[in-house]
Symmetry: C2
Subunit: 297 residues, 2 copies
């Protein structure tokens, strides 16, 4: 099973610290390299992580606040210095097209872009799709899921057992079609197994809301902002952010398997365990990430 690799390039929030840069994550799956948000300094984080920005295929923007997007112009410039042959696909909430136009006016964008303001399912192919849903923040904001679809796979031992030759019939079986071989019917279900779907959800800046639970439903990995601790719950409400406990509630109610806490405020630079412990009380399988952490599923 091909792994999905998630590299955390920035796990801080509005003000960067020595340890945490602004938000950015890179999801790698086969040829896809999907960047989720791009705070100031992201291109340097790529460099430090020894990753190539020229491999990026898509960028998902949760919202157009500075700490999530100010790395875009520099990233575009650096990609333009490579021999980038692709069309970079940018997805974001309403307003994204206008923002990209403004960026282009400031600093001419020298790579081919395709800009989409999205809602619901998008970028679907036979293997995966992306999905977005509106969040509750003080500007248009989206949460995203990356979903690899359930897939039928041929079971090698069974192929041997039934002495199936390497022929187009195998393809039929892999597509769930029963076949006839030497007058005998072989059911697809006899020689295949289902590789389960996998889902990663990204919930960045938002106040607690039902859509968050909806999009996160049954995620293998829920990456969620966790800007405040329980003590600052009123501030979280005022600034439209989540506490660690609320992030854990989303994980719990959405029946997610694992919760990843990010977007950590500078006030917890030396005491991130406060955040982690509050989440763990509600949802045991919680983890707080640092810049350059890698998680694979």
């Amino acid at each position: 099973m091909e792994k999905i690799k998630l590299t955390f390039l920035g796990t801080g929030n509005a003000i960067p610290t020595k340890k945490r840069n602004h938000t950015a994550m890179l999801l790698t799956y086969k040829d896809e390299n999907i960047l989720i948000d791009c705070g100031e300094g992201t291109q340097r984080q790529f460099r430090i992580a020894e990753l190539s920005p020229a491999k990026i295929t898509r960028i998902l923007i949760t919202h157009w606040h500075g700490d999530h997007v100010l790395g875009l112009p520099g990233l575009f410039q650096t990609i333009a210095m490579t021999e980038y042959q692709k069309t970079l696909k940018i997805y974001g909430p309403v307003g994204t097209k206008r923002f990209i136009e403004e960026l282009d006016k400031m600093n001419k964008i020298e790579i081919p872009l395709e800009v989409h303001e999205v809602q619901g399912k998008f970028a679907e192919n036979s293997e995966f799709y992306l999905e977005s849903i509106p969040m509750t923040h003080n500007c248009p904001t989206l949460a995203y899921s990356f979903v690899i679809k359930e897939k039928l796979r041929l079971e090698k031992s069974k192929i041997k057992k039934f002495k199936l030759p390497n022929s187009p019939l195998l393809k039929d079986l892999a597509q769930g079609k029963d076949i006839k071989l030497n007058g005998k019917t072989i059911k697809a279900s006899q020689v295949t197994y289902k590789e389960p779907a996998r889902k990663i959800t990204f919930i960045l800046d938002t106040r607690l809301n039902d859509n968050a639970i909806k999009i996160a439903a049954n995620s293998n990995l829920l990456v969620c902002e966790s800007s405040f601790s329980k003590k600052e719950e009123s501030q979280a409400r005022e600034y439209m952010h989540l506490t660690a406990e609320q992030a854990a509630q989303i994980a719990k109610h959405s029946k997610s398997k694992k919760l990843i806490l990010t977007h950590i405020s500078q006030r917890y630079e030396h005491i991130p365990k406060i955040i982690l412990n509050e989440a763990k009380k509600v949802f045991k399988n919680s983890q707080i990430v640092n810049d350059f952490d890698i998680i694979e599923i």
Copy 2:
């Protein structure tokens, strides 16, 4: 004598590396904190250096290429989160007002700004002045000098010798006026000495040109870009940059006292001595700086 402190916040060029961020320098003298250029990620460099962006009084922009200015929006945002009571003064070449307007459209600037497109001497007061001169790059570009004026100082031992009382007469002497005390003339020159002028010049992106030598004349410190080595001289000419040797020629012909090499390309990440040695052959008192180096004069 109050020192001028220069903190190098970014010493790389177009593409940041693990060791070097894009260009930014902070000049501190008494209450003045003057930032020269502000590449992407500069606010985080402030944070790592444990310096406060809220103390910045002026920003000098050499030119509006991304690697010299993309840190501005984030820096403005972070300053706006402090209780910034000053009016931030921005100086730059022709086009600076338009660029600031564009930035403001993208990301509302929430601090009071005063924007000046400068030429020649500016921001002069009794203690210091700033000066700019056009360079030769592929967009409007300026080099800058910060000059502390020569100043008359009272010599304590002489004040004692002449038994001068603590009276307004001392102020007259300090201003170069001769005085009469008990019917006797005391010349200012008898009790004062001249604290010499000090000058720091900043030459960033440019091709070799006469204005560079002109503005650098008699600098105590010449901070100069040095993007290429002699081997890449044709590239330096094509991209309108300086080689280390050319930077040293400017230092030599301008009769500068010390040359500081910065804006070092990623290709010299592990071999900066190539750059330094080429400069030293022409101008012995040369030094290459790294991020977070501090130089005081």
